[in-house]
Every structure is written in structure tokens, then in C-alpha cells.
Amino acid sequence: MNIFSGIEILFFWLGVLTTLSVGVLFYLNRAYRFDWKSWSLSGMGVFLLIFCVAWSASSVLEGEPQAAALGLVFFGCPAVVFFLLARRLVIPGKNAEND
């Protein structure tokens, strides 16, 4: 049984990542005051990011590297898109300010 790799430690780090992500969201909320759309988008982003890490790490552990790579594409990319959309809502760009 490994100590620093394997499915058990993966889920421990997923717990840490979840805690940190929620903490960061609440921290950002204090600074930028999220509305319900921002909460939804960033929440889905966090969920997909954590799912992406879980999927890809599990695929590596089971010896299926292609599944791990595709996991990054299928779950990681949407997570990034959600984060970018959420960022655009909470920190409007110059065009939005000019409007």
C-alpha cells in the first residue's frame, strides 16, 4: 500500500482542494459580491475542476493514460470556461464599464 499515491490519498487531496476552493470563493465573494449567476458559474467550475482532477488521477492509477488525457479535455476545459464566464460577470471588462 502506497502512502503518497493511490486512491485513498487522492480523495484526501480532493477534500483539501474542495475546502480551499470553497474558501477562495467566499473570499472572492467578500471582495466582489457575487450574484446568483456568478455563484452558479463558479460553483459549477469548482465542481468540474474537482471532478476533472478525480477522473484523470483515477485513470492514471488504473493505467489508462488516454482516459486521463481525455478527462482533462472533457471536464477540465468546461471548468475553465465556467471560471472565465464567472470572472467576466464579477469583474466586468473595459467594454462593459464603458457600457
Binding site: G15, V16, T18, A54, W55, S58, S59, G63, E64, L70
Partner: protein, 506 residues
């Protein structure tokens, strides 16, 4: 006076209650109080350090709490989804064509063993080639090392037969059928009981005193798990799935009159085959996993039969003989039948082998058949039919009562029940050509996955959603790289020492 960590004497602190409160306060202004200074000097652990530790502890605590909460939530979610996904069919899972004159299958027609030889003399050279195929050291997956893996994998199967006494020594089939206990020695004298115990052929005269059926069931299943079974179910005997008659090339025909007792229950066991080896299908490496599965079957079913006899009950170890394993496994709640005609279990998919024990013990809790969406998924998936090297697997969308083909391949199927009928003659011809078994349909099946959480998640989502999603799941399975066949990389990964840690630490 007390000693601090460095061994220096420190003054004893007499703190009032309000000062103690200050020590644990989060008020930054109070951190500058003399008490804090004294404390920092004394233990070199100031309030700021306490805060840091506290924050770290809180983070770990929240992490742990979130995991505990997550565990509780996941258990609740698992139960809810289990109730949705796993359903009892509520009726006999084997639908016989109305009015069809069903006849029990005859062992002489099993395609793997005696059927081809009895029906067609031309098959005999093929069988010889199949058993002694040789190897090609220039072809990955078919080299001597791969071939050795295959032959050694199944060696225990043949070895075990010699342990079973005269009845089975000469059998060509994969059987260990032990119908007549070897009570007599070669010189005609009755064997002493101690010798029969050593041979595992002694039914203890006193019955084990189980108080409840559940206790007996737990004991049987736990013993089977100890001896190597991965899944265990128990079902009442169903004569529809017992062979009408038995056959072995050496001794000829026998039937149920030769069985010295009336079986009442059948204990069905499934044995997982190695995932990594199976990804190398249809090479000798995958056949090594298959052969090892057969050896496991023989070992465990033999031990379980002895276990039942020591409990005071009659028992016959049975592998591919005596009766049809897959219908019994379905009845015992181990899984459903897929398009490829194999049992698909929830945990291992079709990557299992089956063995069973017939016994006259019936003080048990019988398992019930289950469904978890396999039949619906198979209608749209067809990955096994697509990759089958001999096109032996039907592409009919719905199961039928009879096979589509009407030729000599009919010898190896038993029509009447609604299922997918596959051409086992074509399948066997490829085995001969390949020089071993195939297992491509096992390897490629989307239910064949290692036991990881994300596959269980996909399985459950797939089971809960309608048909078009199954087509999507099939495509995703391919895109994500699962179920390749003729993959030299899989053979190399199997033999590679990477991530294997044979010494336990490196």
C-alpha cells in the same frame, strides 16, 4: 518552576480567567499584552503561532469534516441510486417461447469440449492445433513467454482432475464431476474414513448446527471468498439448466441416475480475471488470464465441495460440467446475460469465470436475480459484435427465441429461451486459427473496467438514462481508449515492471 522545551526554568503562570480568555482570543490588540510576551518567552509559542496552528487545525478539521460529511452523503446517494439501478425482474428472467418444446441441453453438445469432435471428425486436428499451438518469438503476444503464460495458467485445471479419482482422470473436458465417491480401493476393499477425509471425499455423518439460514449462508459465502471466489450467490436447483446427460470421450455417457444424491441448491461463484492481461486480447497473454480463471474455478469449487461435505452434506464441484453456469449465475443474482452470451456482473463486467457446487443443503437464504440495465445497453452498444474477429456475435437489435443461422452451428446452442444467439462454431474456428482462446468480446465490453469509482458512476448514470445515452456512452468508451484489441502496447504493459513493485517497496 517548570522546564520549557530547551530545559530552561520558566516562571509558573498564575492566570486569571479573563487572562486565559485573552490567550485564546482572536482580538489582535490583545496579542500585544504582557501575558502574550511572557508566554512567548516561556514556550516560544506565541499567540500568533497558536492562531496559525488553530487555522491549520481548522482547515484540516473542515477537510476531515467535509470528508466525513461527504462519506455520509455518498452512502445516502449510493443507497438511493442502488435502489434505482438494481431492480428485481419480478419474474423468471428466462423467457421461454410460448409452446416451445424446450429440452434440456446435452453435455455432448458443448462446443468447447466434446461436441465438435463427436459431430465432425475434421475438428480433431483442429483441437490438436488448438491445444498445442506453438509460438512465434517475432510476434508480440504470441512469443514463447506469452504461450508459457497461457499454458501454465490453465495447468491447475488439468492437475486437479487427477486429484478427483478414477472418474475424472481421463476426462478430456474441463470437468471435475465427482458423481461416485471413490469409496473403494483398487483391491476392492472399502476405504477407511480417515483416507476418505484426506481425499476430500468424506461426508461427515453429523450435520453442522446452524441456527438460522442467514448464519449458514454467511458461512458458505465467507468460505467461498476465503478459497478465492470474488462473487458468491446461492440459488435453488433448476433442472432446466442441468445437462440432460453427461458425456466424456473416455467413459461415454452418464446421466442423473448416476448422481448419488438429489441436489437442492447450487452455490455459484465468480472469479475475476486479470484486467491488464485481458486488455491484451486476443493474444496468449489474455489467454493466460482465462486459463488462470479456469484453475481458480477448479481449486475453489473442489475446496467448497469438501467444505460442504465436512458440514455433513453431499456436494459436487462443477465447472463447465453438470449444468449451465450462466443461467445459474443469473438466478443467483450475480448479473445479467450480455449480447456476447456471457454473464455481465456489476463489479467486474464479463471479466469473470464461473464455477458452482451442487449440494443437498437447502437451509440457506437464496439470492434473487437482479437487473441493472445490461439488456437495454446491449441493444445499442454492439462493441463486442463489431470487434469479434470471426463475426460470431449477432448484430440483431433484440434478443430472439432461436438463432438466425440454421446450419451445423446449431449443435452448440439450445433454442427456446429469449436471448442473443451467437455462432459458436465460428468462434471456435477462430480459436483454432489464433492458437488459443480469444476474449476480445470480454476485453472490449464497456462493462469490463477495473473496480474504480468513476466506472461505477458511469454505469449507474447509464442504467438510469434512456437508450440514446447508451449510444453516446459507447462512443465515449471508445474515445477514452477503453477496449482496444490486438494492442501490442497492452502486451508490453502487462510484462513491464513499471508500477508493479514486486518486492513490495520498489
Amino acid at each position: 518552576m517548570a522546564l520549557n522545551l530547551t530545559g530552561k526554568k520558566i516562571p509558573k503562570l498564575h492566570l486569571r480567567f479573563d487572562q486565559m480568555i485573552e490567550l485564546t482570543s482572536l482580538d489582535v490588540n490583545k496579542m500585544k499584552s504582557p501575558t502574550k510576551t511572557i508566554h512567548k518567552k516561556a514556550g516560544k509559542l506565541g499567540r500568533r503561532d497558536f492562531f496559525k496552528l488553530g487555522a491549520l487545525g481548522a482547515a484540516l478539521g473542515v477537510t476531515g469534516a467535509s470528508q466525513v460529511a461527504g462519506n455520509a452523503a455518498s452512502k445516502a446517494l449510493d443507497k438511493a441510486t442502488d435502489d434505482t439501478v438494481f431492480k428485481s425482474p419480478g419474474h423468471d428472467p428466462f423467457e421461454l417461447k410460448p409452446g416451445y418444446p424446450y429440452r434440456r441441453f446435452d453435455e455432448i453438445n458443448t462446443f468447447q469440449s466434446t461436441g465438435p469432435m463427436r459431430r465432425d471428425a475434421k475438428v480433431i486436428p483442429k483441437m490438436v492445433k488448438f491445444i498445442w499451438p506453438g509460438f512465434d518469438n517475432d510476434q508480440v503476444g504470441y512469443r514463447q513467454v506469452d504461450w508459457a503464460l497461457s499454458k501454465a495458467g490453465q495447468s491447475l485445471k488439468f492437475k486437479m482432475k487427477t486429484l478427483e479419482g478414477k472418474w475424472d482422470q481421463e476426462r478430456f473436458d474441463f470437468t471435475m464431476l465427482d458423481l461416485k465417491p471413490t469409496d473403494m480401493e483398487d483391491d476392492g476393499k472399502k476405504k477407511p474414513d480417515i483416507l476418505k477425509i484426506l481425499e476430500g471425499n468424506y461426508v461427515y455423518p453429523e450435520k453442522a448446527p446452524f441456527k438460522t439460514k442467514q448464519e449458514a449462508t454467511d458461512a458458505i459465502k465467507r468460505a467461498a471468498r476465503l478459497y478465492g471466489a470474488d462473487l458468491v450467490g446461492i440459488t435453488p436447483r433448476d433442472e432446466r439448466f442441468d445437462y440432460q446427460a453427461f458425456f466424456d470421450p473416455k467413459n461415454g455417457r452418464r446421466n442423473w441416475k448416476d448422481v448419488p444424491f438429489e441436489p437442492k441448491s447450487v452455490i455459484v461463484m465468480a472469479f475475476e480475471m486479470d484486467y491488464e492481461a485481458m486488455t491484451a486480447a486476443p493474444t496468449h497473454v489474455a489467454d493466460g488470464a482465462t486459463g488462470d480463471g479456469y484453475s481458480q474455478m477448479h481449486k475453489t469449487s473442489y475446496q467448497m465441495a469438501v467444505f460442504m461435505k465436512c458440514l455433513g452434506y453431499q456436494a459436487i464441484p462443477s465447472n463447465n460440467d453438470v449444468g449451465l453456469s450462466i443461467p445459474y449465475a443469473v438466478k443467483a443474482g450475480l448479473g445479467e446475460v450480455g449480447r456476447h452470451g456471457l454473464l455481465i456482473t456489476y463489479k467486474y463486467g464479463p471479466r469473470i469465470r464461473l464455477a458452482k457446487i451442487y449440494t443437498d443443503f437447502d437451509f440457506v437464504e437464496y439470492d434473487k436475480p437482479i437487473e441493472f440495465g445490461v439488456q437495454e445497453f446491449c441493444k445499442r452498444c454492439m462493441r463486442c459484435a463489431d470487434v469479434c474477429p470471426s463475426n460470431a456475435i449477432t448484430k440483431a437489435i433484440n434478443p430472439t427465441y432461436e438463432p438466425e443461422f440454421q446450419d451445423e452451428s446449431n449443435w452448440f446452442v439450445n433454442p427456446g429461451f429469449k436471448k442473443y444467439y451467437n455462432n459458436l462454431k465460428k468462434c471456435f474456428d477462430f480459436w483454432v486459427e489464433n492458437g488459443n482462446g480469444c476474449s476480445s468480446c470480454i476485453s472490449v465490453c464497456p462493462y469490463n473496467k477495473p473496480d474504480f469509482w468513476h466506472h461505477r458512476l458511469v454505469d449507474k448514470i447509464s442504467a438510469m438514462l434512456p437508450g440514446p445515452v447508451h449510444s453516446f456512452m459507447r462512443e465515449m468508451d471508445k474515445i477514452f481508449g477503453y477496449g482496444n484489441t490486438y494492442d501490442e502496447g497492452a502486451v508490453k504493459r502487462f510484462w513491464s515492471s513499471k508500477n508493479k513493485k514486486y518486492l513490495g517497496y520498489k
